[in-house]
């Protein structure tokens, strides 16, 4: 059975919060009579996912992808279905160490959040 949440080939725990928003790519400009007009290139998805607590073994491959600035496949749940998207991490993930060791050398971090945008 495939995992419900994955970044590239790495499993993720169920998130505390997750949202998918579509945003437009294009320009907004005002005409001579001050009316606002928009020209759209297309729409892309933005994924925001966060965990109240997460261990280092999950964070480590995420940080590798972040530092490589590369696109990867993100597997997520949307309206009861498993979906995938090619994404890139666009925020700077902050890690707050809780000084709790979940297992040997696997420390627990608090409030870890990622923002990803579709390619």
């Amino acid at each position: 059975m495939s995992s419900l949440w994955m970044i590239a080939t790495n499993d993720l725990p169920d998130p505390g919060a997750f949202s998918v928003t579509e945003f437009a790519i294009g320009t907004n400009q005002r005409l001579a009579n001050m009316r606002l007009v928009t020209d759209i290139v297309g729409y892309k998805k933005r994924f925001e996912i966060s965990w109240p607590t997460i261990t280092w073994n999950y964070i480590d491959p995420i940080m590798d992808l972040y530092l490589a600035s590369s696109f990867f496949t993100f597997t997520y749940q949307d309206e009861g279905a498993t979906k995938t998207a090619t994404v890139m991490i666009t925020n700077s993930p902050e890690k707050l160490l809780l000084w709790i060791e979940a297992a040997a050398n696997d420390w627990v971090y608090k409030d870890f959040a990622l923002t990803m945008e579709e390619q």
């Binding site: 294009g26 320009t27 005409l31 001579a32 928009t38 290139v41």
Partner: protein, 654 residues
């Protein structure tokens, strides 16, 4: 203005519009749509084999429309799938043989197979044939690992048929799948590959006349260089060595006209036909940039063809002769507005009065001829040279309002380009001079005859009466190409090298030099007048001189004669089009002609359009409000013309 559908019009003026580009790059000048015919051992009906030879190497999930868009590019592109499957090790149960017929013998050294990354040929053979019977194996691969396979042979191969035999693929128990294959001839880059497209169309000046009449266009394109596909020195790419050479390309901009996701459709507008300049190609990490110029740019620096005087001709006929002399075909390669009936008593190609004919170029000849016809010359979006009248007649091509298109308008006042009076120097033909010796010079004639002797006359010659080669034993004149200002003589010699004297006699054209003056009616007689003098060899009629003079005066006497408009951009508008600028916010209501335009697409459209005030024929130019026009003809009489009211002209001899 390119004709478009009503759906397109409603979308282009809508507040939200989606655009994308495509570009057809023609690397083999002999091959354009339809590129080729193809057959295959088997095919899935939804993935037919003709998709292999439509130039598209990406999957395309939307419909495309547009004037001049090849029909092969109008549907979806899914690639070809075999109906036969591979076995558990990827070997095809039946080898798939694809035969491509290019309709004619072509030359190529670039060959490619583009497939989906999950299903591509592993073992295959490519063979070539000129007759479809005898085949020569070009290459055999047994362990290919590239889904975009490319090979470049050291020398060109001549062939008409190409045969691809696929025996093993990378996917098991699956059909063979190929998006595009064969020789790299014409390639279509979809929006996925196009980063930036910037079209610049402009009317350029070739002489001192402020009314530039000859247009030229160029386009700057940037292709995405993801995975090094468009990196010219990437030998793994099927485009290797092609983008760095000279090739023809046709960019298009499409506007989404159907909203249904199931039938997404774009109407594409052509931007022109351009030839890339290899020297201006460059590749950065993420883009490959190149520049292309239209056909007028290619011919403008050529020397005009040698042409004898054409008596009692018109501007239309002289344009026709010039284009035919350049080897262009009427209708398909050029079009001339039939209203250009201005008469020319003795027509020939020459620059301004007193110009050095040997320095004259086609660009200058076009400018002089266009002035004489109050016309402009441009290359249209389909690659055809078009000559149209500069006069605004009928409806304008488009209306730009502050509520739909205009972001800002700049009215420009240039005192240096402002004049109160125009003097147009022209010539009226009065006959021919007496016969005289036009050329007398010794020429060395080697065995065989040597190259043609080129002769230039200081004045235009109406009739050549004698061409003689004197003092030779074996040499004789073989061919004479007479022209009004240039001439070529070819001499044959069956014996030893010798020297002869070439004598040419003829009768020069006899002109009466005259001029007309047109003065801005708003200028008081007491004020000093700033005068612009213009001469044109091909204006040989007073009516034409008056028409041209008034057009120029109309333009240079306006306080604000040029307008720069920053607008949303509509790719269907072309240079030379007339627009109505209706900007209530800035209180501008003007009829204008587009003289320069920059249209930029980088995901969204943007345009900067420079316009000049629209020109009206002199008979109608000053109707409202009633103005007085004075014109003086310095020959036998002085004529004063007055506009009293629309349609009523009083002309009296003073």
């Amino acid at each position: 203005m390119i004709r478009t559908s009503t759906q397109y019009q409603s979308k282009i003026t809508a507040d939200v519009r989606q655009t994308r580009t495509l570009m057809i790059a023609q690397f083999n000048p002999e091959v354009y749509y339809p590129l080729a015919a193809a057959t295959a051992t088997s095919e899935n009906a939804s993935y037919p084999v003709e998709q292999l030879v439509d130039g598209r190497f990406r999957e395309v999930s939307y419909l495309s429309y547009g004037q001049g868009l090849p029909i092969q590019l109008q549907g979806l592109h899914t690639g070809w799938w075999s109906s036969d499957l591979s076995n558990g090790s990827g070997t095809m149960t039946v080898p798939q043989v694809i035969v491509i017929d290019y309709y004619r013998e072509i030359r190529s050294k670039h060959f490619f197979i583009v497939s989906p990354s999950t299903n591509y040929p592993v073992a295959f053979t490519i063979a070539l044939s000129t007759d479809g019977i005898a085949w020569e194996t070009l290459l055999t691969e047994t362990a290919n690992t590239a889904h975009e396979y490319a090979t470049q042979k050291p020398s060109y191969k001549s062939f008409r048929y190409l045969r691809l035999t696929v025996t093993k693929i990378s996917a098991v128990t699956a059909p063979a799948k190929i998006l595009q294959c064969g020789a790299v001839t014409t390639v279509c880059f979809e929006f996925y590959d196009n980063d930036i497209c910037k079209l610049v169309e402009e009317m350029r000046q070739y002489n001192s006349s402020p009314l530039s009449c000859v247009c030229s266009s160029y386009v700057e394109c940037a292709l995405s260089n993801e995975e090094g596909l468009t990196d010219d020195d990437n030998t793994d790419s099927f485009l290797s060595g092609l983008l760095g050479g000279n090739f023809t390309f046709r960019p298009w901009i499409g506007v989404r006209v159907t909203d249904s996701p199931a039938a997404e459709g774009y109407e594409f507008i052509p931007l022109g036909v351009f030839t890339s300049n290899a020297a201006e190609q460059s590749t950065e990490d993420i883009t490959a940039q190149f520049l292309g110029y239209d056909k007028l740019n290619q011919i403008k620096d050529l020397q005009p063809p040698i042409l004898s005087v054409v008596w009692d001709t018109t501007v239309y006929e002289l344009f026709d002769l010039l284009f035919q002399g350049l080897g262009l075909a009427r209708g398909t390669e050029y079009y001339i507005d039939k209203s250009l009936t201005q008469s020319i008593a003795a027509g020939f190609f020459a620059g301004e009065v007193g110009s050095d004919f040997s320095e004259e170029t086609v660009g200058e000849a076009l400018q002089v001829l266009a002035e004489a016809g109050c016309a402009y010359v441009r290359c249209d979006r389909f690659g055809r040279i078009v000559v149209r009248s500069n006069f605004l007649t009928g409806d304008v091509d488009a209306t730009l309002r502050d509520s739909d298109f205009v972001f800002s308008v700049k009215k420009e006042k240039d005192p240096a380009a402002h004049y109160d009076q125009i003097n147009v120097r022209y010539r009226e033909l009065t006959g021919l001079e007496d016969e005289e010796e036009l050329y007398n010079s010794d020429i060395d004639i080697p065995l065989g005859g040597g190259p043609a002797v080129s002769i230039e006359f200081p004045d235009a010659v109406g009739i050549i009466t004698q061409v003689a080669l004197q003092g030779t034993t074996n040499a004789a004149i073989s061919t004479v190409t007479p022209g009004a200002v240039r001439m070529e003589v070819e001499v044959s010699n069956t014996g030893a090298a010798e020297t002869g004297t070439l004598v040419i006699k003829g009768r020069k054209l006899k002109f009466f030099n005259t001029h007309i003056e047109k003065t801005d009616v708003m200028t008081s007689e007491d004020e000093p007048r700033k005068i612009l003098s213009i001469s044109n060899w091909l204006i040989q009629d007073r009516t034409v001189a008056l028409s041209f003079g008034d057009s120029v005066l109309h333009y240079v006497s306006e306080p604000f004669s040029t307008y720069t408009i920053i607008e949303r951009g509509d790719p269907a508008r072309e240079i030379g089009d007339y627009i109505h600028l209706d900007d209530n916010t800035n209180d501008i209501d003007k009829y204008l002609q587009m003289v320069r335009r920059t249209l930029t697409w980088d995901g969204v459209l943007a345009a900067e359009t420079e316009c000049r005030v629209a020109l009206a024929d002199w008979r109608w130019a000053r109707v409202t409000p009633p103005h007085l026009i004075q014109c003086t003809v310095t020959r036998e009489k002085t004529v004063q013309s007055s506009w009293v009211m629309p349609g009523l002209l009083i002309e009296e001899e003073v």
